[in-house]
Structures are given as structure tokens and as C-alpha cells.
């Protein structure tokens, strides 16, 4: 009980992303460290799942924070949260790198340097990952945020800067497509074991 109260108190005392951003603008290194701790992993996973490439994901994370530091494409509090801004930058970077032909999963898979390579031991997961990779990016984003990152529709909508209903419908369609793509594998016994 006391621990819960302390956690709530800590949460209230925790500076918001926007406060940290203001401190970062004042060249406070600890604010950068805190923002990095809060968002780096999720941004990395987002870029990794969206691109399927570890090198693109690493480059994306680095570039997102470099832009945050330099103030390029400056974040404006009135237009949304800092987290949404970070995801927006990451999304654009992944798209650009994909378009510019950065080394993709296929190239990296040879050296085992991609997410797929790491999942190859688990056939079921590979099938799902491949199906996920074939989804349109907006559907993939919805699955990634709502199912893999377990964010609520509202939180995902804030990050994607679109209505909640749009996220819900994208997720439902994405799941329908995923089920449809996994069905032949299931029937062939590839996606086995977890049926119930």
C-alpha cells in the first residue's frame, strides 16, 4: 500500500517529456539521459519492426535524438506530445531509408544481422513476423503499437496523430489479414502447438 503511494508520488514528481525537452534546450545533459531512457527502447523496437533491419533501427534512433538535440524540425508543444513528435520523426526516417534503399532485411539476413535472422529458430514467430512485414505500413504500425507494445487505442492514436477509430479499424483489418495469411500455415501444421 505504502509502496503504491510512493510509486504514485514518484510518478507525480516525474518531469514530463516536455519539461525535459525544455531542460534539454538549456543544455541539461541529465534531461537528455532521461529522455533517452524513456523512449530509446520503444523507438528502436518501432524502427526495427517497421523496417526489419537492425542497422536502420539503430540509425533511426540515433538520428531522432540528434534532431531532438539540434532542434532540427523543432518540436512544438502546441502541436502534440514530444513522444508523438519522436515517433513522427522515426516514421519519416524509416520510410526515407527504406525508399533510399538502405540495407534491408534481405541483405542483413545473410549476416544474421536482422530481426528475422534472430527469430529463425522459432518457425511460428517467423511466420507471424513475415505476415506482419507484408502488411501495409499503416496497419503494421497499428499492430506494433497496440499488440506488440501493448498501448491503448487512445495512446496509439496520439502517437500516430489520427483518430482513435482509425487506429481501431486499422488494427482490426490488420488482424484479419494476419489471420488470413497464417491460416494456410496453420492448416499445413506450421503454426502448430498453440491451437486451443
Amino acid at each position: 500500500m505504502a509502496a503504491g503511494r510512493n510509486a504514485m508520488k514518484n510518478e507525480r514528481m516525474r518531469p514530463t517529456d516536455e519539461e525535459l525537452y525544455r531542460r534539454l534546450r538549456g543544455r541539461d545533459k541529465s534531461a537528455l539521459a532521461e529522455l533517452y531512457e524513456r523512449h530509446e527502447a520503444a523507438l528502436y523496437r518501432y524502427a526495427l519492426c517497421m523496417s526489419g533491419s537492425r542497422s536502420i533501427a539503430e540509425e533511426t534512433v540515433q538520428e531522432v535524438f540528434c534532431r531532438l538535440i539540434s532542434g532540427a524540425g523543432r518540436f512544438d508543444e502546441r502541436r502534440g506530445t514530444l513522444e508523438a513528435w519522436l515517433y513522427g520523426v522515426a516514421r519519416n526516417l524509416v520510410r526515407r531509408m527504406d525508399r533510399d534503399g538502405a540495407p534491408g532485411p534481405a541483405a542483413e539476413a545473410v549476416s544474421g544481422d536482422d530481426l528475422l535472422g534472430e527469430l529463425l529458430e522459432d518457425e511460428r514467430t517467423v511466420s507471424l513476423y513475415r505476415a506482419l512485414d507484408e502488411l501495409p505500413p499503416s496497419y503494421r504500425e497499428a499492430v506494433l503499437l497496440c499488440d506488440l507494445e501493448e498501448r491503448s487505442y487512445e495512446a496509439a492514436a496520439r502517437l500516430l496523430q489520427c483518430p482513435v477509430g482509425t487506429v481501431r479499424s486499422r488494427l482490426h483489418r490488420a488482424r484479419l489479414l494476419l489471420s488470413a495469411r497464417l491460416a494456410p500455415l496453420k492448416n499445413a501444421g506450421v503454426v502448430a502447438g498453440a491451437r486451443g
Binding site: 543544455r27 545533459k29 537528455l32 533517452y36 530509446e40 527502447a41 528502436y44 523496437r45 526495427l48 519492426c49 533501427a57 539503430e58 534512433v61 540515433q62 535524438f65 540528434c66 538535440i69 539540434s70 530481426l115 534472430e118 527469430l119 522459432d122 511460428r124 514467430t125 507471424l128 513476423y129 506482419l132 499492430v143 497496440c146 499488440d147 506488440l148 507494445e149 501493448e150 481501431r168 488494427l171 482490426h172 488482424r175 484479419l176 494476419l178 489471420s179 497464417l182 491460416a183 496453420k186 503454426v191 498453440a194 491451437r195 486451443g196
Partner: protein, 197 residues
């Protein structure tokens, strides 16, 4: 509720790992399509959970963090350098404005009034017997002057502010130095004939 609305319930329940409520269960019993979707959604949720577990906890390597920190240090150095340059530039601008203000102020301050006496050369000065006309405009630098011998009456001498002698009432011969504008600057009266005599 139609199937489209039930599907939303199906997805939400499957994602949350909840058992279907009584109404949904009843619909699933009656609708094979929705029942199939329910099964698929449950499977997909489980598969998704496995993938989520495999992906969770993944982070970028430490080298990325180091690069970001280096970028931050570099940015701070650039900002510091820019600020220093700005301070110097501002200080230089202030000094320049002050200097220009002083020069301007000096240029605008009224010069000491100069008289014709100060500008007429020694050739037409007191040593040569010329008396400057009081209040006459000074000669400009390099201005040509002319010397004319003329006869001035007492009134003219008085107008020029020159001292009158008793003998001057009827007129006196004088050399008048005039500027290019024709205005008199200095006068030399001919010596008093009585004094000469």
C-alpha cells in the same frame, strides 16, 4: 447487433484474453463465421504475445547512446561558440555605435564663430593698416578678395561700424577689401591729411 459489431467485441475480448460474455457466447453459438473469427483471433493473440516477448527488451547498442552523447557535446560546443561570437559582435557593434555617435556629436556641435578678421590673411591684416569690418562674414578658404579704393562718407563708415573721426564727416578715401560676394571685410582709411600735414 450485426456481425460487424460482434467482430469488434470478438477482437477486443481476444486481445484482452477475456472469455466472451453471455451475449457474445450466444452469438458465437449461432454464427459459424464469427465463431471461426473468434478462434483465429485467440490464436493470433497467442502468436502475437510470443512475438511481443521476443521483441520486448530489445534496445539499441551502447554505441548509439555514445553517438547521441557525442552529438550533444558537439551541439553544446557549437552553441557556446555562437554565443561567444554573438557577445563579441554585439560588443563591437556597441563600441562602433558609440564611436560614431561621438564623431557625429562633434561634427554637429557648433563651431566657434569665426570673423572676417580671422580669415583675412596678413596681407590685409592690421599690420597693413586694415581694420576688419565688425560682424562681417568670414572669407571661405581660397576665396578671392578684391581691394578697391573708394571714397566713403561718414554714414558708410558708421554702417560698417568703423570709428569716425571729425574729419571723416565729409568723406574719406579708403581701401576696402571685399570678398567674392562683394561684401566688405576690411577697410583701410587713408591717413588723416591734417595729421600728415
Amino acid at each position: 447487433m450485426d456481425c460487424r459489431e460482434w467482430i469488434s467485441e470478438v477482437v477486443n475480448n481476444a486481445r484482452a484474453g477475456r472469455a466472451p460474455g453471455a451475449a457474445l457466447r450466444e452469438h458465437l453459438d449461432d454464427c459459424p463465421r464469427c465463431a471461426e473469427r473468434w478462434r483465429e483471433e485467440r490464436i493470433l493473440t497467442r502468436e502475437m504475445q510470443i512475438l511481443a516477448d521476443r521483441v520486448a527488451g530489445r534496445r539499441s547498442p551502447a554505441s548509439v547512446r555514445e553517438s547521441v552523447e557525442r552529438a550533444f557535446e558537439r551541439h553544446c560546443r557549437i552553441v557556446r561558440a555562437r554565443r561567444t561570437a554573438l557577445v563579441f559582435a554585439t560588443a563591437a557593434a556597441v563600441v562602433m555605435v558609440l564611436a560614431l555617435s561621438v564623431v557625429w556629436w562633434k561634427g554637429m556641435s557648433p563651431a566657434e564663430p569665426r570673423t572676417a578678421a580671422q580669415t583675412i590673411g596678413s596681407e590685409f591684416g592690421a599690420d597693413a593698416g586694415f581694420v576688419p569690418v565688425p560682424g562681417a562674414l568670414p572669407l571661405a578658404e581660397g576665396e578671392f578678395v578684391s581691394v578697391e579704393r573708394t571714397e566713403l562718407d561718414g554714414a558708410a563708415l558708421a554702417r560698417m561700424g568703423l570709428p569716425l573721426r571729425e574729419t571723416d564727416a565729409d568723406g574719406v578715401v579708403a581701401d576696402v577689401v571685399s570678398g567674392e560676394d562683394g561684401l566688405p571685410r576690411a577697410v583701410r582709411l587713408e591717413a588723416d591729411p591734417e595729421a600728415v600735414d
